[in-house]
């Protein structure tokens, strides 16, 4: 096949540019619904898409094809993206293993270490507020005979470092504690955790899916041995992520979970998702350049949203407010059901009442429960996830909509009425039906 700029690819590219424009417009003016769930996923930055486009139809080669230029072009693009990704987290490009996403990277890190270091021990320490990808993988490890300690967190969502250190045994091979929490945004004391891990010769893995690209993450300074993250949480494409695996001091190894052609230095086989990886690289580069100013902008907007909503009576911020991702706020509005709240402005504002992976269920969030919240407060929580395309107008609109809905719902709530009349609701013994 012969490809020329006159071929249809070119038309496609043009039509895409028009589409970009739509996306930009949507960011410029207040268009409903407002998207405030950037912890679940983010819209792709048009600059990312633009970087990806040449690798779909035109430069479509298999990066493992070593005998011809289609393959080399693809390989070069992957190499460049690997550098972009590595640079954002201060890693060596050789330490980046591309995967299909953070969940696969979580699985590879935990199962891979568990199998590789089996002769050293079989104990893993994690926390109850981890993402399902970590928790479910740990449960799987338990079924195969491993031991897992699930650390409780304090009321502010942070782990207790003394408890962590006390949990370490001679059998411990891995500490798996996330960087920033997906639901409440609290940032764990990563450097202190890694210092404890180093002291005891235990590897430290962190799921940094929510943190990379949002706050400075430096695998050297932070002392991270393995780290999972993904593109679609930082304005890149879905279906691509990475596992950082330290190559020196110490050299970390994982057992591959996908065998095959030996791609990714044998640690992850499978034809590389070239456009996805290119997009991931571009997304990392943009975050690298814009993170600092963006974090300031987002935290200012988030704080404005939060303080306006905290003017409501009986509203509580969940999680530590100081050690927190700049774009996340999780607030409980007592005497109001989160689901009812969401129904109230469902069509206008997209937020989440739990993590997206479990938000279709009506179980209260296990993260909020782990902070010690009762079912009522856990059920009355909303997670606001601001992002690159969030505007001040959208925040104004959201403040109004949430306030009005909370007030309206409380007006109709007998519990709220009782509370206002001074009845101590927690002391009431409800009759069984």
């Amino acid at each position: 096949m012969t490809l020329t700029p006159e071929s249809s690819t070119f038309d496609v590219t043009l039509s895409i540019r028009k589409n970009h424009h739509l996306l930009f417009n949507y960011c410029m003016e207040l268009k409903l619904p407002i998207y405030l769930d950037n912890n679940a996923t983010t819209p792709m930055d048009p600059r990312v898409l633009e970087a990806m486009l040449p690798y779909f139809v035109e430069n479509f080669g298999n990066a493992a094809s070593r005998n011809h230029s289609f393959g080399w072009v693809a390989e070069e693009a992957v190499d460049y993206a690997r550098e972009q990704v590595a640079k954002l987290i201060n890693a060596d490009p050789k330490e980046i293993i591309f995967t299909s996403g953070a969940t696969e990277a979580d699985n590879l890190a935990i199962k891979g270490v568990y199998e590789m270091y089996a002769s050293k021990g079989n104990h893993i320490i994690t926390a109850t507020t981890e993402h399902k990808a970590v928790l479910d993988t740990c449960k799987h490890i338990e079924k195969t005979g491993g031991k897992v300690t699930y650390l409780n967190v304090k009321a502010d969502g942070l782990i207790d470092l003394a408890e962590l250190e006390a949990a370490i045994t001679p059998e411990t091979i891995l500490i798996a504690i996330m960087y920033g929490n997906n639901e409440i945004g609290v940032i764990q004391p990563v450097r202190e955790i890694s210092a404890i891990a180093r002291k005891h010769g235990v590897l430290f893995f962190t799921d940094a899916t929510q943190a990379v690209g949002k706050v400075p993450v430096d695998v050297q300074k932070d002392g991270i041995d393995l780290m999972a993250f993904s593109a679609h949480k930082m304005y890149g494409p879905k279906g691509v992520g990475a596992l950082y695996v330290r190559r020196k001091n110490p050299r970390v190894k994982v057992t591959a979970q996908m065998d095959g052609g030996g791609h990714e230095r044998g640690m992850r086989s499978g034809t590389l998702n070239v456009p996805g990886i290119v997009g991931f690289g571009k997304a990392c580069e943009l975050c690298m350049n814009e993170m600092e100013s963006e974090a300031k902008r987002l935290s200012a907007m988030r704080d404005r949203l939060e303080s306006a909503l905290m003017e409501l009576e009986e509203a509580y911020v969940n999680g530590n407010r100081e050690h927190r991702l700049p774009h996340t706020a999780n607030i409980s509005f007592k005497y109001v059901e989160g689901e009812g709240l969401m129904m109230g402005f469902n069509k206008d504002i997209a937020v989440s009442s739990g993590s997206a992976c479990t938000s279709a269920s009506l179980e209260p969030s296990y993260v909020l429960k782990a902070l010690g919240l009762g079912d009522d407060l856990a059920h009355s929580s909303l997670r606001f996830g601001l992002g690159r395309f969030t505007t001040d107008e959208q925040i104004d609109y959201t403040i109004n909509a949430v306030r009005n809905t909370v007030l309206k719902l409380r007006e109709m709530s007998p519990l709220w009425e009782m509370y206002k009349e001074g009845v101590d609701i927690d002391s009431i013994e409800w009759a069984h039906h």
Partner: protein, 377 residues
């Protein structure tokens, strides 16, 4: 210099129509399909429609279709599930399988999870059916048979229905790596005795990074990637939304154009085979090229000479993109395991070159290649 791409078994160019279908999901329709508000509902619906479309084309139930990150993940999932969840204690495979299969079954053997046997090949490189039956009859251990539908290097086609019937007779679990055939051949899974098949979109003009695993509804397996309820608790991880849409669209287009495209490509392969034989009487073809073989692959055995040794390099210099083996092994200098197995190890007198075609190729391109080969041999 205009290039001629004859490495379509490694990967194919994305169809612009597929990109068009994907575009909304690369831009404004970006919601996480697990979210319950409108952004999530519309993308969830799109994924379920893609699943239904894929199921309809393969004559399967939507509940049997699981989207993955690609063929390799699907193969790893199937083989691991057969051992861990379905109780298989023995694996029968062939020496010419893709490395995604071979390395996974080798791992199963090394880790003591299953016994491993290799079925013999006929001199054309096909699975020796009599030997397969012998192996199946030989043991009472629950057995997984994993045999690829079409070989990615030489193109040999397996009689998937016949192997399925043998597996039914001996109550074996059957996985067929169909990465080279989904999107290139019709499937009728409801009437085929097979428990797992897999596919990768980028082999039929779809996007990279997305694949499929078919799991027959009569068996139940556990997820291979844990964490999150996606794909009905079977494959955790936020869905590769645009990829899944692209997978379905590419399969729809491939199916719609099957008659026309397959006939066209078949003719190209025959044309090249005939031309090669006319021009170079001492070349031969690896595998059962004129018999049961993929219409997309022609693997040519050039006699080894000082000049032919450099052929891959020289073809590339001339802008002709082909492969010595599969893309996954093309970095290694050693002869491919497939060629070795077919030649019983005596393959050092030939230079194997794989030409693989798509509907974008033309007879004129083939003429150009033949002319170039005249200079190179």
């Amino acid at each position: 210099m205009s290039r001629i791409y004859l490495d379509n078994a490694a990967t194919t160019a994305l169809n612009p129509e597929v990109l068009d279908a994907m575009m909304p999901f690369l831009t404004e329709k970006f919601g996480n399909p697990s979210s319950i508000y409108s952004y999530g509902r519309e993308t969830k619906l799109a994924i379920e429609n893609a699943r239904k479309s894929v199921a309809r084309i393969l004559n399967a139930n939507p509940g049997e279709i699981f989207f993955t990150s690609g063929g390799t993940e699907s193969t790893n999932t199937a083989i691991n599930a057969a051992i861990r969840d379905l109780g298989c204690k023995r694996i029968i495979t062939s020496p010419v399988e893709h490395h995604a299969t071979l390395h996974t079954v080798e791992y199963m053997e090394h880790s003591g999870q299953a016994k491993l046997c290799y079925v013999k090949l006929t001199k054309e490189g096909h699975v020796d059916m009599a030997h397969l039956e012998e192996l199946l009859a030989d043991s009472s251990l629950k057995t997984l048979v994993t045999l690829m539908h079409a070989n990615n290097e030489v193109g040999n086609l397996l009689d998937i229905k016949a192997v399925g019937e043998l597996c039914r007779k001996y109550d074996a679990i059957f996985h067929s790596d169909t990465v080279q055939t989904v999107g290139h051949y019709p499937f009728d899974l409801r009437n085929t005795y097979v428990h797992f098949i897999n596919a990768a979109a980028h082999k039929f003009h779809g996007p990279k990074g997305v694949g499929m695993l078919y799991v027959n509804e009569n068996i139940s397996i556990k997820p291979y990637i844990n964490g999150g309820a996606q794909e009905r608790n079977m494959r955790a991880g936020t869905e590769n939304l645009y990829g899944i849409i692209g997978f379905a669209k590419a399969l729809e287009l491939a199916t719609k154009n099957y008659e026309e495209d397959s006939n066209y490509i078949k003719e190209l392969k025959q044309y090249m085979g005939t031309k090669l034989k006319e021009t170079f009487p001492n070349v031969s073809f690896n595998g059962d090229s004129n018999g049961r073989s993929l219409y997309t692959v022609l693997n040519v055995a050039f006699p080894l000479t000082e000049r032919s040794d450099m052929m891959l390099f020289n073809l590339d210099m001339a802008g002709i993109c082909v492969s010595g083996g599969s893309a996954c092994t093309s970095g290694a200098n050693s002869t491919s395991h497939v060629i070795k197995a077919i030649y019983n190890g005596c393959s050092d007198k030939i230079v194997p070159i794989r030409f693989s075609f798509s509907r974008h190729n033309t007879k004129e391109e083939i003429d150009t290649v033949i002319e170039k080969l005249k200079e190179l041999i």
